[in-house]
Amino acid sequence: MAKNFDEWNRPLKELEDGIDKLKDFAKKETNPAKKTDLESKIDELEKRRDNYIEVMFQRLGPWEKVLVARAPKRPYTLDYISAIFTDFVELQGDRRGFTDNAIIGGPAMLDGKPVMVVGHQKGRNIQERQFRNFGMAKPEGYRKAIRLFDMAERFRMPVISFVDTPAADPGVESESRGISEAIAAGMFKMFELTVPTVAIVIGEGGSGGAIGIAASNRVLMLEHSVYSVIPPEGCAAILWRMPERGADAATALKLTAEHALQLGIIDEIVKEPKGGAHRDPLEASQIVKSAITRHLAELTPLAPGEIKNERYEKFRKMGIFEVA
């Protein structure tokens, strides 16, 4: 089992590097016959690549989904925001003494209509990752989100949440400022809202850290994202005391979009471009945008009280048990 995306993706990467090299040769080649030869070789390799991607992504296993969901080039919240909305102004601060950079948000326009956007934000390089605390929000992140939810309610703006976190921050600072309360209060506030709310899991939907901003009227998942009650490594550590058995835990946890849909947890699986969102972030954004606007269009005509009730009833039904 591959440990991370890059390891898992290596064969494809090597194939593509090969194609790039041949293209370089072809560009420089002056002999027409050799050039044609190279070009047909490139064609063939590109077909092989497409085929490889086709096969590779046709039935990703749960652990492979985890790897793809964590892919370093996968589009993050700010990528979607810049592609989907206009007039985004990031707002900050919990107004209680702290700031957080793992949850971001602010008002924006979606096709000319005001919305409030909130989401986890990961970093791409080492400095960014540290700045974003690897997408693990502290209490102040959820408290900032709550402030934005309040504003959304006050100014009648729908709320769009982008979910992408391994988990909430588990450190001493977070415990001492009440990370549990912050997550619970995030959900609590979301259930009080009378404006439409739509959440989409774009990468990792990590446990309480995710649901704290995702108790929405509609919850969508990107095709290759994952949503889980516990990170697979943590589950493996508890179950078998072997964090390295994350792949087995991923299978047991049923953390894929297909499972979430079957279990009645999410409303829709949003297809990704061929080979995953990271291969075409702009196309991915357009698909995400159209899914969001479609769900908003369904919710917007409802009265405020109905919007709130619809959300309650949706979550009220969750759970599977027998009545003796």
């Binding site: 549990s180 309480g208 009650v229 943590g234 946890l253 969750m318």
Partner: protein, 273 residues
């Protein structure tokens, strides 16, 4: 601790205790004050008016929707050991004659973990409180969400929180009591958004279990980390209440905070015994 024996040993201070004395002292060690865990039924007897408890939701049974490794066996084992079907007992009771909607967790049932059934029972407890205008009292004791039910467990966090929001909406007080331990997915949902939060002394209270935290690279922690005392100092609790004062504290709070309910909201069809 085996009640049939005349003597037993305190797990905290290791001193030998007289069983009868220990029981009379509500299972609080007379030497070190350690609050030993209580079975749910005993907790109910000690807290609410005698004979007032009427258990509800007794027909709910967990199943294994994910076919999760060893879940069936573990749950069957817990059922056999505890004689109950899940980690929450719910129903209605009275405290100094005031009707309350209650739920009490049993840590001995799979670490008090919250799956679909526990979440449903908490939700019904809070919904009954909201509907009938009775204050809700929930005794928490849990390691967190039940990972064997995967996302379904995670969603119990949202569902129970939504029910708590209903109580708030209709103005029904909701009191949570953190007993040892109150952790993770339970702490990060219905437990932490109660109007009033009380803890028993020294109860373990925290978000990240030791193994998960270690996995995430958390190392040096304060001595009192994740104790009720730590959490109180950090503003997350209203009070730390010793067991012998718990009943009277809850009763007073039900009387004051629920004072305007009794005349306005209570309906005739309150489901209490």
């Amino acid at each position: 601790m085996d009640k049939s024996q005349a003597f037993l040993q305190c797990a905290n201070c290791k001193k030998i205790l007289f069983s009868i004395e220990f029981e009379q002292n509500l299972r609080v060690c007379p030497h070190c004050g350690h609050h030993h865990r209580l079975p749910a039924k005993l907790r109910i007897d000690l807290t609410f008016d005698e004979g007032s408890f009427q258990e509800l939701d007794t027909d709910l049974r967990s199943i294994d929707p994910l076919s999760f490794p060893e879940y069936e066996e573990k749950r069957k084992g817990a059922e056999a050991k505890t004689g109950t079907f899940d980690s929450i007992i719910s129903g209605s009771a009275r405290i100094d004659d005031n009707p309350v909607s209650i739920a009490v967790a049993d840590f001995t049932f799979m670490g008090g973990s919250m799956g679909s059934v526990a979440g449903e029972k908490i939700t019904r407890t809070l919904e009954r409180a909201a509907e009938h205008g009775m204050p809700a009292i929930v005794f928490c004791a849990s390691g967190g969400a039940r990972m064997q039910e995967g996302l379904l467990s995670l969603m119990q966090m949202a569902k129970t929180t939504a029910a708590a929001a209903r109580c708030a909406e209709v103005g029904v007080p909701y009191i949570a009591v953190f007993t040892d331990p109150t952790m993770a997915g339970v702490l990060a949902s219905y437990a932490s958004i109660a109007d009033i939060i009380i803890a028993e002394p020294k109860a373990l209270v925290g978000f990240a279990g030791a193994r998960v935290a270690k996995q995430a690279g958390v190392s040096k922690v304060p001595d009192d980390f994740q104790t009720a005392e730590f959490v109180f100092k950090h503003g997350m609790l209203d009070r730390i209440v010793p067991r012998k004062e718990m009943r009277s504290t809850l009763s007073t709070l039900v009387k004051t905070l629920g004072g305007n309910l009794r005349t306005e909201l209570i309906k005739e069809d309150v489901p209490h015994g």
